[in-house]
């Protein structure tokens, strides 16, 4: 089994605009990595390309050595906003969908996560707050056993308690060899759990560094991240 993620020379254009250019990124097994960048820097797009739902890009994307889209999808778990379900759908029905279509989905694991997140399985999507929905999405994502987990801004717009629950669940349910890539435009709240940060700027990866190496230079991860955007303002 190769690295959970290997991207080489990725280029992606949409509506005539270059969104990603010459992006290279390799993630090693067993890491928690933050994908940082401004809003609109291309974090979501990158995750969608990795998961094979964004099309027509150039370059190669490999997930656990697999390049074909269907194989990639089988070896990664992406936080989907559950938009494919009607608002009246109950958590139970969503779980059934996952159980049938993902062979690596573990109901036992989901039940543990659901209890940890205090979610009622009879609840409908329409009855859930943003924080609850995000917790459900995380629970579903971690109920699969894959090499790579892609969490797309799991902390946006939710309260501190829900955030803590989600961070704790990441620590608790992460398997030793699997790698988590979590995107955010703040880093403060998750800095302590990170192994590495990847910063996206100017449509490509401009920095990939270990958090402890940053701290060894007496810099906080947040300062380090902000310095990249500071420089731009100074120019």
């Amino acid at each position: 089994m190769g690295n959970p993620l290997e991207i080489t020379d990725l280029v992606y254009k949409k509506n005539q605009k270059k969104i990603i250019t010459d992006l290279n990124l390799t993630l090693k097994p067993g890491k928690i990595v933050a994908l940082l960048g401004e809003n609109g820097a291309g974090k979501t797009t990158l995750m969608r390309i990795i998961s094979g739902v964004a099309k027509n890009y150039r370059g190669t994307v490999k997930v656990a050595s697999f390049a074909k889209e269907a194989d990639r999808k089988a070896h990664l778990s992406f936080t989907d906003g559950l938009t494919g379900f009607a608002n009246s759908t109950k958590i139970n029905d969503i779980v059934k969908f996952y159980q049938i279509l993902y062979h690596d989905f573990s109901l036992k694991q989901f039940e543990q996560l659901r209890k940890f997140m205090n979610l009622d399985s009879d609840m409908r999507l329409s009855e859930m707050s943003k924080g609850m929905k995000e917790k459900l999405v995380i629970a579903l994502t971690f109920s699969r056993k894959t090499d790579l987990y892609l969490l797309d801004e799991p902390f946006s717009g939710i309260d501190a308690m829900a955030r803590k629950k989600i961070i704790k669940s990441i620590i608790l349910w992460k398997q030793e060899k699997s790698t988590i890539l979590v995107s955010d435009h703040f880093v403060n709240e998750i800095a302590a759990v990170l192994d590495e940060v990847v910063i996206i700027k100017n449509k490509t990866v401009c920095m990939h560094k270990s958090t402890e190496a940053i701290r060894a230079d007496n810099q906080s991860v947040e300062e380090f991240y902000e310095s990249f955007y500071q420089r731009e303002e100074d120019e």
């Binding site: 067993g30 890491k31 928690i32 803590k164 961070i167 704790k168 620590i171 608790l172 992460k174 030793e176 403060n188 800095a191 302590a192 759990v193 990170l194 192994d195 958090t211 402890e212 701290r215 060894a216 007496n218 810099q219 906080s220 991860v221 947040e222 300062e223």
Partner: protein, 121 residues
């Protein structure tokens, strides 16, 4: 437990565990929580906890029993030494910060004695 984000976290975890051991919250010869338990408790990365424990193993303050986990050493001289080091480190910080305020070593001693007399009545 809140960590400073500009100091390597594994160092802060070590400091935290030293304190736990010296204050007797973790007793000599007893098992300490597992890596994952510590990670959840401190909300930090498992790999970082691992690194801190590895170093403490190397220093001898912890020892590993295969398949059981990490235990606090029963070597009292080592524990004493660790305690002294911790005290020294704190004193170092204190003296440095006093010095930076322009207080000389003699004055520190005097001020401290007076302070203890006044405040601890």
């Amino acid at each position: 437990m809140e960590f400073k984000d500009n100091i390597p976290i594994y160092l802060q975890i070590k400091q935290y565990l030293y304190r736990q051991i010296i204050t007797g919250k973790l007793k000599p010869g007893k098992k300490i929580p597992s890596v994952r338990e510590l990670a959840v408790q401190l909300t930090v990365n498992v790999n970082t906890v691992q690194r801190a424990l590895q170093q403490m193993n190397f220093e001898g303050i912890l020892y590993t029993k295969r398949g059981e986990g990490n235990f606090v050493t029963e070597d009292t001289t080592l524990l004493e030494k660790t305690k002294r080091e911790l005290i020294d480190a704190e004193l170092d910080k204190f003296v440095q910060s006093m010095n930076s305020l322009g207080v000389s070593d003699e004055q520190i001693l005097k001020s401290l004695t007076e302070y203890l007399k006044e405040e601890r009545k």
